[in-house]
Symmetry: C2
Subunit: 337 residues, 2 copies
């Protein structure tokens, strides 16, 4: 009978108390074989045709603003409309009848924008100086503040896809902003869970975090760590030290400080894991938040080292082969020269 | 300024009332370009080494049972232990202290099995006769009934990964069974949502479904349809006509009937979408279910035509470029010769 080498550590099931979901930690899983040929990481095509590059502005959907505001050919960041939006800014937000009695459908009203993070095609977010990363963050902040003026918008998601297996269809460094007329399910679950923690302890769950062996690095205003019940192997969270519910409350000084820590985390991850595909997510609160003392915004960086399968889709439980303490130790010790 | 061709239909946001989550429908999304070279669908390696093939039984983790029970070399189905389990049947289920005060961790106790669906390497589930597909379903039923005897097990997930981008690491036709000491988050959300529907209407939400233009096909005991708020393009649900909370309540006659409809759906999907990677999930109820009148088991078939990105991970909202009515019409009309 075949026997797998005994893993050093038994599997453990941990609860992510921020999202109120369970994660299965199982080192044995990392040793399973695959009889599929290695997935090639798709490489970008020839880039002479990229609409996000400087000089190709006319190939893009309309611009919302650029940084610096009065720049011409020398822009550093552009926030533009998404040409193939998931939601439409041209619809009125209103209920429309579903096709089946009892079903609920609303018009797909909302805003879907793209933040072009650099005019040059082959510059990654982690190649920018800390202050430049800070400017990218401040561009998202500015756009969120504009979207806040629209009464129908309840929640704004900022996210970045890097690499084809993390979903990216464009290789030019960019992130996206989707503003929705609903509060999405994962966001509601997070708010409910954080509020419950507050009701039980009188404290905000992220203010109360004791990173200990999960800590990676720190800056003046932020800490970075691997969460206790990380969904993905080598997942990183960056959390503001001071209580703050909304990402858009960030000021310029903190944005530059965050830019430095974010850059460091991206460099460490890239060096240790060989430039993996990843998602970067800004988890903030809905505009209308009745639980300000319990909600605390943070950034999640989720590398994609393996795909997900039916179990995760069916249950919402993820399987992570790397214990967070081990991932944190490795990331803590990566030296950036 | 670039302009995307005006889509025929405006985006819509629909609520999946079974899972209590929102899905964004946006036909415009399907026309967005990608500057990554097409992802090659990884093909399986040479298969002389497959441990799931007849004659290689000794390369597998221990067998739990086979079908027929008294078969030797002529087995049709084998249910075996997973050699690289996500949870361990050797642990005692008990609470272990988390590394951080307030965090929750339990031993990773549970069962992780593999159902080898055929002795031959290149036979797919949809190649089997309806009665044989029924036997595969009955093997899962039998295993669930065994697992039910373990007091600590709360929920059993049966799932199948087909194709590398749906997560499969083994190409030989198989499914997996994971038995957990917790009720997973997506399952709790589904139960809560179905119970709420019952409390509001006095009816089970799946008994009450009016498929109309969403219907694909029917059999004596089951219907197949595209759900009103499908998470994935061309997603299919197969629902028992009669109210039943637990998949393991299925009898042989119904299993054969289901085998026929499931085979038909897999063939239609494969023909229409060119053998896409997919997951097949059996959504059943926890063993201990206090809401039997409101919970109803069903099968979900989720083809993977595009990956997911940061937006889905952050929000739990999926973006589906194909309206369910359109997918249902296409699948209804596929002719299997
Ligand atoms: N000329 C132009 N002007 C303006 N915008 C342009 C443009 N050309 C392309 N775009 C837009 O640029 C965006 C690039 O985004 P990404 O590469 O991060 O992933 P994408 O949104 O395609 O999908 C990934 O992310 C989403 C959300 O997570 C998932 O649904 C999906 O499966 C995954 O592949 C696209 O949304 C595209 O519509
Ligand atoms: N000799 C042997 N004896 C017994 N068992 C053997 C064996 N050799 C291999 N196995 C097991 O066979 C299983 C094959 O399963 P799949 O191909 O469906 O996907 P896998 O579980 O690898 O991961 C996919 O599904 C899981 C769950 O959805 C995701 O976590 C993951 O990311 C995704 O790739 C593996 O679990 C493996 O451990």
């Amino acid at each position: 009978m075949a026997e797998a080498e005994t893993p050093k550590r038994s599997p453990e099931i941990r609860k992510d108390r921020i999202h109120n979901r369970w994660v299965l930690f199982s080192p044995a899983r990392s040793r399973r074989p695959s009889d599929f040929k290695a997935k090639s990481n798709p490489q970008p095509n020839n880039q002479r045709e990229c609409p996000f590059c400087a000089g190709h502005e006319h190939e893009c959907a309309p611009e919302i603003f650029r940084v610096p505001e009065d720049s011409t050919n020398d822009w550093k960041i552009r926030v533009i409309q998404n040409l193939y939006p998931a939601v439409s800014r041209e619809l009125d937000f209103q209920n429309t009848p579903g096709t089946v009695v009892g079903d609920v459908a609303v018009n797909g009203f909302g805003f879907h924008d793209v933040v072009i993070e650099s005019p040059a095609h082959s510059v990654n977010l982690s190649d920018l100086f800390p202050a430049q990363v800070g400017e990218v963050l401040l561009a998202s902040k500015k756009r969120i503040e504009q979207l806040r003026n629209c009464d129908s918008i309840k929640y704004v998601q900022v996210f970045k896809n890097h690499g084809a297996s993390a979903g990216a269809s464009m290789s030019h460094s960019h992130s996206q902003i989707i503003a929705l007329p609903i509060v999405p399910p994962t966001v509601s679950a997070r708010l409910d869970s954080m509020t419950e923690y507050f009701q039980q302890t009188g404290k905000c769950s992220l203010c109360d975090i004791q990173p200990n062996e999960l800590l990676i690095d720190e800056s003046a205003h932020f800490i970075s760590l691997v969460p206790f019940a990380a969904t993905f192997a080598f997942e990183i969270w960056i959390i503001p030290r001071d209580h703050s519910s909304h990402f858009h409350e960030i000021d310029s000084e903190k944005a530059i400080d965050l830019g430095g820590l974010l850059k460091l985390m991206l460099l460490k991850m890239s060096l240790q894991l060989n430039n993996p595909p990843f998602n970067l997510l800004i988890h903030t609160s809905p505009f209308q938040d009745d639980h300000l003392p319990s909600t605390h915004w943070f950034i999640q960086i989720a590398p994609h080292l393996s795909g997900v399968g039916g179990f995760e889709i069916a249950t919402g439980c993820y399987i992570n082969p790397v214990f967070p303490e081990d991932a944190a130790k490795i990331l803590r010790e990566v030296r950036i020269s």
